[in-house]
């Protein structure tokens, strides 16, 4: 017995509401973020992730209040990401009650931000979020590149090399989203997850594509993820967190039950 694998429900937040889209389109409303977080907390979620998908200035103020409110009522770890561009943004979220802050596009434009942030706030609270897409042709050695701006802009940067570099710069955890799989419910990109997890020394959170409980199991066993993130299967009550945990435990995965 030892460290448990984590289940992390992810709340995409826009204008103070939880939303969920399919490949960033077709947005559906899924409730008030604090209420949703409380429900997951009661169900035994291991952490909560808030992603600010609007990331405008007005949204940012709303997000800070949401984080403050959640941190006063829910006593499990909270990661906040989306639109984080500076050490001041990070400080603001940590002061509001976030435990970890996710840096995505800003890390690509300014990798030193990761180094500065880890030096100032500690690597344990710096999560580098990577959005990756497969770029290899069928039959080729698999290869993934990172994309910014919610998966819209290619960068030409190799995902495995990037993850390794970000860890060297002080990332304490990698949140890895497959843009190919996101929202389509066919399961995580296991090749990508495993390639990154094997390449880095820090924990990796698999994200993007969960449609059923076997996908969570595969993410841990085949993808070697340390934590599995999912949104819609929980938001729309297809499965509860305890069902997911029991199922993963029944497959021999150590869980906090």
């Amino acid at each position: 017995m030892g460290l448990a694998k984590r289940i992390i429900p992810c709340l995409d937040v826009n204008n103070g509401r939880v939303v969920k889209g399919v490949q960033f389109l077709d947005i559906r409303d899924a409730g008030d973020p604090v209420e949703v977080a409380k429900r997951y907390n009661e169900q035994g979620a291991d952490e909560i992730t808030f992603l600010d998908i609007g990331a405008t200035h007005e949204n940012r103020d709303t997000m800070v209040h949401t984080v403050e409110k959640m941190a006063s009522e829910v006593f499990i770890p909270l990661t906040v990401g989306g639109g984080i561009r500076s050490c001041d943004d990070i400080r603001r979220m940590l002061n509001a009650g976030a435990d970890k802050v996710g840096i995505n596009s800003a890390a690509v434009f300014d990798p030193d931000l990761v180094q500065q942030a880890a030096g100032r706030f500690g690597a344990q609270c710096i999560v580098v979020a990577i959005d990756a897409k497969s770029v290899s042709a069928p039959g080729e050695q698999p290869r993934w590149e990172i994309f910014t701006h919610g998966g819209r802009k290619p960068t030409g940067i190799d995902a495995v090399e990037w993850a390794t570099k970000m860890v060297a710069y002080g990332a304490g955890e990698i949140l890895l989203t497959s843009m190919d799989q996101d929202g389509v419910k066919n399961g995580y990109d296991l090749g990508l997850t495993r390639a990154i997890s094997d390449a880095v020394s820090v924990p990796v959170i698999a994200s993007g594509g969960v449609g059923n409980l076997d996908h969570l199991v595969d993410g841990v066993i085949e993808g070697r993820a340390d934590a599995v993130l999912a949104a819609s299967i929980f938001h729309f009550n297809e499965y509860t967190i305890p069902e997911a945990k029991q199922y993963m435990a029944s497959k021999g995965i150590e869980m906090r039950l």
Binding site: M1, G2, L3, A4, K5, R6, N41, G44, D46, E68, A71, S72, E73, F75, I76, P77, L94, N95, A96, G97, A98, D99, G119, R120, F121, G122, A123, Q124, C125, G172, E173, S201, V202, P203, V204, D226, A227, R256
Partner: protein, 211 residues
């Protein structure tokens, strides 16, 4: 009204721990402060800490927190959390070696340098919910042995003074996650982030008379 001082030495987020204390004991006043007089006047003291030990120790010294902690030892219940626990030890190997407060005997070492951790390809930081093996102590009242608590740390504590060990944990190796000496209790995990088990421990601390 009972009061607790959460020592603020400018590092990290104290919002969560203050909120958790208010949540479990609404009739206790929580001060987040580095004012020696306020800490002296409080019934209990909490020494938090996140981030790198060198920065923590620098601020602890700069703000006179080292003296405050030394003055409060033996007087009132004190709880150290995470880097707050590590700061109470003698020495840490982090940041090329840092002298700590020396209130508890023992050293702080890096997981990543240990063969057993490397061989098992364990990720560092040790991040997530791990089981904690308790030794009898008032702060475990109502918390089942082997309950899981939330950890996030790359350095761990190990002491030769086994009589002070109030709990251990395993991650590639056995290490000490709770130490107790008289009125002092220190934990490596984050009770304020450990759901019901963590909140219960904080509640026990707020009711503990230090013996």
């Amino acid at each position: 009204m009972k009061s607790i001082a959460v020592i603020d030495y400018g590092i990290g987020n104290l919002h969560s721990v203050a909120k958790a204390l208010e949540h479990v004991c609404p009739d206790t006043r929580v001060y987040v402060t580095n004012d020696a007089a306020k800490i002296e006047a409080s019934d209990r003291v909490l020494l938090p800490g996140v981030g790198a030990i060198r920065d923590c120790m620098a601020e602890i010294k700069r703000l006179g927190v080292a003296q405050i902690v030394a003055d409060q030892m033996g007087k009132k219940p004190m709880l150290g959390i995470c880097v707050g626990m590590q700061a109470l030890m003698q020495r840490s190997s982090e940041n090329g070696g840092v002298e700590c407060l020396g209130q508890l005997p023992g050293e702080v070492s890096f997981f990543g340098e240990q063969h057993s951790v490397q061989e098992a390809h364990l990720k560092v930081p040790h991040m997530g919910w791990n089981q904690v093996q308790q030794q009898p102590h008032a702060l475990w009242n109502g918390i089942e042995d082997n309950s899981r608590f939330y950890f996030v740390h790359s350095y761990y504590v190990r002491t030769q003074a086994r009589d002070m060990v109030a709990a251990t944990c395993h991650y590639g190796l056995d290490f000490d996650v709770a130490l107790a000496r008289e009125n002092l209790f220190a934990v490596q995990f984050h009770p304020e982030k450990s759901h019901s088990a963590g909140l219960k421990l904080l509640q026990n601390f707020l009711q503990w008379d230090g013996s």
